[in-house]
C-alpha cells in the first residue's frame, strides 16, 4: 500500500451497531404503532409506515452485514466463498431496495401533503385507502425489481447513471413540492392576519416572525438531513463511475465507511423528522409504551 496515499478511514464497529440498533428500534416502533392503532389508518400515516419499514430493512441489513464483517475479520467466515458472495448479493439488493423505497416514500409523503393542502375538498376522493394500498404495492414491487436488476447488472454504467438520475430528480421534485406548499401557506397566513382581530399589534408580528422562522427551519432540516445523509454516497457512486484511477477521487473513496454511517444515521433521524412530529402518533406511542394495563390512560 502506498504510504503517501489516503488511508481508508475506519469507523469502529460499535458505532455501526449502535446506529443500526437504535434506528431499528425507532422505525419498528413507528411501524407497529401505525399498524396497531386504528385511527392511524389514513394515507399519510400509511406512507410514513412504509418509510419506516424501508428504514427498518436498511438498518437490519446494515447491522447484519457488519456482523458478518466482524465474523470475517475474526476468521470465522471465508470472504470469497460462494455462500458469502450470494449472501452479499442479497444484502446489497435489500439495501438498494430500501434506498429506492425510502426516496419513493418521501416523494409519496410530499405529494400527499400537497394534495392535502391544495385539493383539500377532494382529498378523500383522490386519496382513498384503496389507492393508497395500490400506490404502496407499486412502490414495493418496483423497488424489489429495481434492486434485483441493479445488483445483477451493476457493472453496467447505465444502471449507476439511472440510480443517480433517479436521486436527483426525486430530490428536485420533493424540493419543489415543499417550497411551493411553504410559499402558499405563508401567503394564506398573511391573508388571515389581514382579517380584523389579528395581525396588527407588534406582539402578533413578532409571533408570526417566530413561526415563519420555525417553518423555514423545519423545511431546512427536512431537506438538509436528506441531502447531507444521501449525497456523499451518491457522489461516491459518481466517482467510481467517472474517475476510478484519479488520486483525488481515491482520497474521496477512502472515506467510504463514514459515508455509510451517514446513510445509516438518516434512518435514525427520519422518525424524528417525520413521524414523531405528529401529535397523533406521539399520543399512540405513549399509550403503547406507558399505558399498557393502566386504567386511567385513555
Amino acid at each position: 500500500m502506498n504510504q503517501t496515499g489516503c488511508p481508508e478511514v475506519k469507523v469502529p464497529f460499535p458505532v455501526f451497531f449502535t446506529v443500526g440498533i437504535v434506528s431499528l428500534a425507532e422505525n419498528l416502533l413507528v411501524v407497529v404503532a401505525v399498524m396497531r392503532s386504528r385511527n392511524l389508518h389514513s394515507p399519510m400515516y400509511c406512507f410514513m409506515c412504509s418509510l419506516a419499514a424501508f428504514n427498518t430493512i436498511a438498518s437490519v441489513t446494515k447491522t447484519w452485514e457488519n456482523l458478518m464483517i466482524v465474523l470475517a475479520d475474526a476468521g470465522h467466515l471465508e470472504r470469497r466463498g460462494p455462500p458469502e458472495t450470494d449472501l452479499d448479493d442479497v444484502m446489497d439488493s435489500l439495501l438498494c431496495m430500501s434506498f429506492v423505497g425510502s426516496i419513493s416514500s418521501f416523494l409519496a409523503i410530499a405529494v400527499d401533503r400537497y394534495i392535502t393542502i391544495f385539493h383539500a375538498l377532494r382529498y378523500h376522493n383522490i386519496m382513498t385507502m384503496q389507492r393508497t394500498a395500490a400506490i404502496l404495492g407499486l412502490i414495493w414491487t418496483s423497488c424489489a425489481v429495481l434492486a434485483v436488476l441493479m445488483v445483477k447488472f451493476f457493472n453496467f454504467q447505465f444502471i449507476v447513471i439511472c440510480f443517480i438520475v433517479f436521486f436527483v430528480v426525486s430530490l428536485a421534485a420533493i424540493c419543489f413540492l415543499y417550497v411551493y406548499m411553504f410559499m402558499m401557506a405563508r401567503i394564506h397566513a398573511k391573508s388571515i392576519a389581514a382579517l380584523p382581530g389579528g395581525g396588527r399589534d407588534k406582539s402578533q408580528h413578532q409571533r408570526r416572525w417566530g413561526s415563519n422562522m420555525r417553518g423555514a427551519l423545519t423545511l431546512t432540516i427536512l431537506f438538509g438531513a436528506f441531502v447531507v445523509c444521501w449525497a456523499p454516497f451518491f457522489v461516491h457512486l459518481v466517482i467510481i463511475t467517472v474517475c476510478p484511477m484519479n488520486p483525488y477521487c481515491e482520497c474521496y473513496r477512502s472515506l467510504f465507511e463514514l459515508h455509510v454511517v451517514l446513510m445509516m444515521s438518516h434512518a435514525l433521524i427520519d422518525p424524528a423528522i417525520y413521524a414523531f412530529r405528529m401529535a397523533e402518533l406521539r399520543h399512540t406511542f405513549r399509550k403503547m409504551l406507558f399505558c399498557s394495563g393502566w386504567k386511567f390512560c385513555l
Partner: protein, 226 residues
C-alpha cells in the same frame, strides 16, 4: 474458479469492497506523486458546497417569509365575523360545483387551506361514530395537526385568529373566517389580497370570477340566513 474471481472483482466495485479493499492492490496502484492541490480537495470542496447549499436554502426560505406587503383590512368583514357554523355544511354540499371553480392553484389553495380543517372535522365526526371514547376537543386537535411541519403554520393561524383557548372555538372562528373569506369573492379588488404572491397567477383569478361570484352568492345567502 475464474467465475468467482470475476465476481469478486465486480463485487469489489460494489458496496461490499469494505471487506475486500485489498483488491485495489491487485490492480494498478494509484500514483500519488505530483499532486498540485491538497489530497482531500474533492472531499473539502464537496462538503463546503453542501454547506453552502443548505445555508442558501435556509436563507431563501426566510426570504420567502418576508415577501408580500401588509394586507388591507376590509370593514365589511367585521359584520360577517359572528356567523354560525351553518355555512360549513353548505360548503361541503357544493363540493362538486366547487371543483371547477377552484381548479386554479392559487384560489384553490386559498380555500383549501381552510377546508383542510373542514374535511378534518368531517373525518373526526366519522371516526367518532364507531365509538372511540375520547374527548372531542382533543380528538379534533389531534386531527387538525396532521402534517408535521404545517404545525407551525397551524399555530400561526390560530394566533392571528380570535385568541380563543378552546379548540372547538378556534374551529368555529375558522369557519367564521371561511364565511368572511367567501364574501371577498364578491369584491372586485379581491385580487389585491394576494398581490404578495410571486407566482404571477393573478391573471387566473379573473377567469373563474363569474363562477365564483355565483357560488359565493349562494354561500353568502346561506351564511346570511343563519
Amino acid at each position: 474458479m475464474s467465475d468467482f474471481h470475476n465476481r469478486s472483482q465486480v463485487s469489489a466495485r460494489r458496496s461490499d469492497y469494505v471487506w475486500q479493499y485489498e483488491y485495489y492492490d491487485d490492480e494498478e496502484p494509484v500514483s500519488f506523486e505530483g499532486l498540485k492541490a491538497h489530497r482531500y480537495s474533492i472531499v473539502i470542496g464537496f462538503w463546503v458546497g453542501l454547506a453552502v447549499f443548505v445555508i442558501f436554502m435556509f436563507f431563501v426560505l426566510t426570504l420567502l417569509t418576508k415577501t408580500g406587503a401588509p394586507h388591507q383590512e376590509n370593514p365589511e368583514l367585521g359584520e360577517k365575523w359572528h356567523q354560525p357554523e351553518g355555512c360549513l355544511v353548505d360548503i361541503n354540499g357544493h363540493q362538486d360545483d366547487n371543483d371547477k371553480a377552484f381548479s386554479r392553484p392559487l384560489l384553490e389553495g386559498s380555500r383549501s387551506y381552510f377546508n383542510f380543517y373542514i374535511s378534518e372535522e368531517d373525518q373526526a365526526h366519522e371516526k367518532q361514530k364507531p365509538g372511540d371514547k375520547r374527548s372531542s376537543a382533543k380528538d379534533k386537535a389531534g386531527r387538525l395537526q396532521r402534517s408535521g411541519e404545517l404545525d407551525e403554520m397551524d399555530e400561526d393561524i390560530e394566533e392571528s385568529g380570535a385568541h380563543q383557548p378552546l379548540n372547538g372555538l378556534i374551529e368555529k372562528s375558522k369557519s367564521d373566517r371561511e364565511c368572511a373569506f367567501l364574501s371577498h369573492f364578491n369584491i372586485p379588488n379581491f385580487v389585491n389580497l394576494d398581490h404578495g404572491s410571486t407566482l404571477g397567477e393573478d391573471d387566473l383569478l379573473y377567469e373563474p370570477s363569474v363562477i365564483l361570484e355565483r357560488q359565493s352568492q349562494a354561500h353568502n345567502g346561506h351564511c346570511d340566513t343563519h
